[in-house]
């Protein structure tokens, strides 16, 4: 039952991501999604009495719910970017697409997983939906930060998928992945500053000097 609450929350936040029109709103939604991810990992670790999972859930919270949103919000503050995300596809159509993604993920999981009705299967569907929606966010948001958050959402989805179908990756690998995400965010920060300084905006749809 608790798992159902967590997964529903995760799904709702994932859907909330596609109708968010502002950068800060998107960052906050990402934070909320990460918190649900933390809760999921915590629940798994707690019920299985697995210390490694508990350590990992602590890292999820520290990195994805605290550090990364903080860094992203700091970028927004420093470059004084416009709040508007620049939606290429309006929220209603985005929701249609997100629902289609959810349904496709369900079909996919239904075919790939043997026990179709288990909580793991539900988590797997939610995670695939998050991966698809993250990808969709990257493709349909003009602002550079929207793309970054789309990628992080994909990462969240994959993390959940790992937890759902494989019971989490080996401990050491998870740590290395966190390190990788951290480095990614730091480097992205550097590049967003460079982009905003050179272009005076962070709108990737206006970056068109390279073609062909």
């Amino acid at each position: 039952m608790i798992l159902n609450f967590i997964l529903s929350g995760f799904l709702i936040i994932t859907f909330l991501l596609v109708i968010t029109k502002r950068i800060t709103g998107l960052i906050r939604a990402f934070r909320a999604q990460s918190i649900f991810l933390f809760l999921y990992t915590f629940y798994q670790g707690f019920t299985q009495r697995n210390l490694e999972l508990l350590v990992i859930c602590g890292l999820v919270f520290a990195l994805k719910a605290l550090v990364i949103p903080f860094v992203l919000l700091r970028i927004v503050r420093r470059i004084k970017a416009e709040e508007d995300l620049g939606l290429i596809i309006n929220p209603q159509l985005s929701l249609v697409i997100a629902t289609v993604f959810a349904y496709l993920s369900y079909l996919f999981a239904h075919n790939a997983m043997p026990r179709a009705n288990s909580p793991e299967s539900a988590a797997f569907i939610a995670s695939l939906t998050a991966v698809c929606i993250g990808f969709f966010l990257m493709a349909s948001r003009m602002k550079a930060l929207g793309q970054v958050i789309g990628l992080l959402v994909m990462e969240n989805g994959i993390f959940l998928a790992a937890g759902a179908i494989a019971g989490g990756m080996p401990f050491f690998i998870e740590i290395a992945l966190f390190f990788d995400i951290f480095v990614f965010v730091v480097i992205i920060e550097v590049f967003v500053y460079k982009v905003s300084r050179l272009f005076t905006h962070i709108d990737t749809s206006k970056m068109k000097s390279l073609k062909g």
């Binding site: 075919n111 790939a112 991966v131 990808f135 990257m138 550079a144 793309q147 970054v148 990628l151 994909m154 990462e155 994959i158 998928a161 790992a162 179908i165 494989a166 019971g167 990756m169 080996p170 690998i173 290395a176 992945l177 390190f179 990788d180 480095v183 990614f184 480097i187 992205i188 590049f191 460079k194 982009v195 050179l198 272009f199 990737t204 970056m207 000097s209 390279l210 062909g212």
Partner: protein
């Protein structure tokens, strides 16, 4: 022991580089380091073959088999040439005050970091760590792509970092699927190579098939397979020329290495036909798209970048016809292309520096302005389009033979057509650059000595491998072929 040296040399160079103030000295130290690395790699190849090509597993972290050695060797050759070429390139850039002394130092640090991440990829035992190392190559080389801090290069770096990260995120999903089936069906709860290889017979075929698609799309983005190649021309054209050579020569192949690892697992569990079909599909699409774009290019470095897409497509096609000797041909072509493309990018770097432009309409008469580079580029062009007696000819021929032996005449026809497109485009564009009328006001230019040396070094491989491939190398390739086919 030798493996430890391979890892240590770039690290040592990295630690050393902040202490050397003079750019030229730093470059020379760097190049000699990579020369040592190359020697170590060749020695390692010798001992490896002498021990009967047994896979070496060290400290639980390192796993080296024939495939690793092959990619290690490719990386070592091209990175030595690039480090040699960098000396003159960076010094000239510094003299022309395009970059400051501090930035020149930063260049060598990033160069070493980049080479380090690429060198450890074939060595790592754990497939997830391979993933992380490949992601690191993206993140580090993004700085080298955006090195000039101008609009175009930052745009290219941004596209590069975002597209490749997305691609590689899909690959991670594929890895998780592999992990899922290996932990559920084969009870192997780790991503270490030996364990997964042993358990691969028990993998769930359905999941392996799905996972392989994610892996191919994911790493394929990084390997430059169309239609995920969009980042490639931008990054290659905006990167510094030695780095363009490294990107095209090594980075793409390193991703191919990661793909091959998973294909090996898949072959053992579901047989060769499935991955072959995927390889052929991606290969043909890459060939077609690259052929079309090569014809309409105006930018010299973008032209070579699309040629890389074309060649990666050919390699992929070769891997798809593995049952007919295509893997041997594909890997041989991968090595030849790495060497030749690095050669061409170095030539292009000199040309771009002389003409201060990438636009081929403004670059004419190379051979009058820079006789050495012009001649080299002319010969390199013949090598690149696949004329005998240069090495690429053999690779292409073997790939086509494999396609014909498979009796896929339609595919063979298409391949011929696309190769002909690329042939015509490259020949037309580049020969105009080399032979056209030089601008009157343009004085003759001199290349730095190190650039000449780097070109000569690569030239030996281009011509040498065209005339006779060393026995040891052939042996290595045959071993790779057996490994991938799972025999």
């Amino acid at each position: 022991m030798l493996i430890a040296l391979i890892i240590l040399i770039p690290v040592l160079l990295l630690i050393l580089s902040p202490f050397v103030k003079k750019t030229r000295t730093l470059g020379v130290i760097n190049a000699s380091g990579y020369a040592a690395l190359l020697v170590v790699c060749v020695l390692f190849l010798k001992t490896f073959l002498a021990k009967g090509s047994q896979a070496v597993s060290l400290w639980g972290w390192v796993y080296v088999d024939s495939l690793s050695v092959f990619f290690l060797l490719t990386t070592a050759v091209v990175s030595f040439a690039a480090s040699l070429y960098s000396i003159g390139y960076i010094c000239t850039e510094a003299e022309e005050t395009k970059i400051s002394g501090r930035k020149a130092g930063a260049y060598f640090q990033l160069f070493n970091l980049f080479c380090f991440t690429m060198l450890i990829v074939p060595l790592l035992n754990n497939l997830a760590l391979v993933w992380i190392a490949i992601e690191m190559t993206t993140l580090i080389s993004a700085f080298l792509v955006g090195f000039h801090n101008i609009k175009e290069s930052i745009e290219a770096a941004w596209k590069y970092i975002i597209i490749c990260s997305v691609g590689i995120t899909f690959a991670l999903l594929g890895i998780i699927f592999f992990y899922y089936t290996s932990s559920r069906d084969a009870q192997v709860k780790s991503l270490e190579w030996a364990g997964m290889l042993a358990g691969s017979g028990m993998f769930d075929p359905k999941i392996v098939k799905l996972a392989l698609i994610f892996i191919l799309v994911g790493y394929g983005t990084k390997a430059g397979l169309a239609p995920m190649h969009n980042w490639l021309p931008d990054a290659h054209s905006q990167a510094l020329s030695p780095i363009s050579g490294l990107l095209s020569g090594v980075l793409l192949k390193i991703s191919l290495y990661a793909i091959l690892r998973f294909v090996m697992l898949a072959n053992l569990s579901i047989g060769y036909a499935y991955s072959a079909r995927l390889f052929i599909l991606f290969g043909l699409v890459s060939l077609g798209i690259a052929g079309a774009f090569i014809l309409i290019q105006k930018d010299l470095k973008r032209l070579f970048a699309y040629s890389s897409v074309e060649n990666i497509g050919l390699v992929s096609l070769g891997l798809g016809f593995g049952a007919f000797g295509g893997i041997f041909a594909g890997l041989l072509h991968a090595f030849n292309h790495a060497v030749t493309k690095a050669f061409m990018f170095f030539c292009a770097g000199e040309a771009v520096r002389a003409f201060r432009s990438n636009n081929m309409n403004k670059m004419q008469g190379m051979i009058k302005i820079m006789p050495f580079t012009g001649t080299a580029m002319f010969l390199g062009l013949f090598a690149l389009v696949g004329m005998p007696p240069f090495s690429i000819f053999i690779g292409k021929l073997l790939i086509l033979i494999a396609v014909f032996q498979g009796k896929y005449y339609l595919i063979a026809g298409l391949t011929f057509f696309f190769i002909a497109l690329a042939f015509a485009g490259l020949l037309y564009h580049v020969s105009r650059v080399i032979l056209g009328n030089a601008p009157q006001t343009m004085p003759a230019q001199k290349e730095p000595l190190s650039a000449k040396l780097a070109l000569l070094f690569l030239g030996i491989f281009i011509l040498g491998f065209g005339l006779k491939i060393p026995q040891a190398f052939l042996h290595l390739l045959e071993n790779c072929q057996l490994l991938i086919l799972g025999k």
